[in-house]
Point group: C2
């Protein structure tokens, strides 16, 4: 990207991360940790492969991405955020929080990946009853199941199936997210195809932050 040529912290930040796709690549790396090229491409539906290669090179030059040759058994390149890259997290949260209001209806053709839920759930939601025993929720929406552990005042999220979930939520991403955010109540969500197995009260623990 061409520099804005302004001696201003915001402009300088945008000189580095203001390019198209750059912040979404940071999102992927922040969510997944070290990632292969093809995993990144999969988490960035719509990106052209040359774009991804270009951006990764630029981000490496800018000091926010580091590439690492994985040792022989794997024999692949792994891309990581540098420390400086990880420091973008607060900016991602702030933008994501602002964008949350735009997550109403899923536009036609909008892609979805389950692991995108990790950021919002961990940072925009809270444990409504920190003193009660922890609750495990499995979300089945998108390309893979996600486990949500709510307990001790915090929310932790990771991909995979839960061993013995208290609650299992199955449905379209728009409906699952709408239910969690309070845009739909349980009745409305069910009308839109949501299925809930196990303890309905488990979900009450997971509440959007003020």
């Amino acid at each position: 990207m061409r520099s804005y040529g302004q001696y201003c912290a915001l402009a300088k930040a945008l000189d580095v991360v203001g390019d198209r796709w750059t912040l979404l690549i940071v999102r992927e790396l922040a969510l997944r940790g070290g990632s292969r090229y093809t995993d990144l491409r999969d988490g960035l539906p719509g990106i052209a492969t040359n774009m991804l290669a270009d951006r990764l090179r630029e981000m490496e030059e800018a000091g926010i991405v580091r590439r690492e040759a994985a040792p022989p058994p794997v024999a692949t390149t792994l891309f990581h955020l540098t420390e400086r890259g990880e420091e973008l997290a607060p900016a991602l949260y702030a933008l994501g929080r602002w964008g949350a209001a735009l997550m109403g209806e899923r536009a036609d053709g909008d892609e979805f990946r389950s692991h995108w839920l990790q950021y919002p759930l961990q940072h925009l939601f809270t444990d409504a009853a920190p003193d009660e025993p922890p609750v495990v929720i499995e979300l089945r929406t998108g390309d893979q199941p996600m486990v949500v552990e709510v307990g001790g005042g915090a929310v932790r999220v990771h991909p995979g199936a839960a061993e013995d979930p208290d609650t299992v939520v199955t449905g379209d991403p728009e409906v699952v997210i709408g239910l969690l955010k309070g845009r739909f109540d349980l009745r409305a969500a069910r009308r839109r195809g949501l299925r809930l197995d196990g303890d309905e009260n488990g979900l009450r623990r997971l509440q959007p932050q003020g």
Copy 2:
């Protein structure tokens, strides 16, 4: 901007404010409040006039900018942020804070406007001695003087000349900012052409936040 087509809050936010220049226009409107077109252009050195017109229209459609026909005595159009637009402030702070680390040397040809200091000073600096009587500093750098009031634990900044400043700091933006951020000590700043009139201790009140 073409939509990313991803059902993700960050991607949705970038669909709206990820275009080139958009966040810098938000910066200008946030700093100045209601602004005329030509004032915006002046605060955005490097922007092409058709870009500014395009962006303002898009931002209006997106609901983050509102245009207002000022009444007869002024008879001009004023551009404002909507409430939704003002909610971008936390994202601007976060990005600006990240970009502050890039404010080392002023690149050749980098433009500067004094009012850009307002955001960083108010939000990235703090009053180091909240219980002592307030201090007024006048910064003379860039296109216009700025008044910095440090007192009661807060920092307030506005354009203009101070009536009876405790301290007056004159010099190149790079040096003034370097001094405030602690990149230069007073000796080093003076070597680079900084002039300080009045009480040297006034400056000690203004300290970067952790």
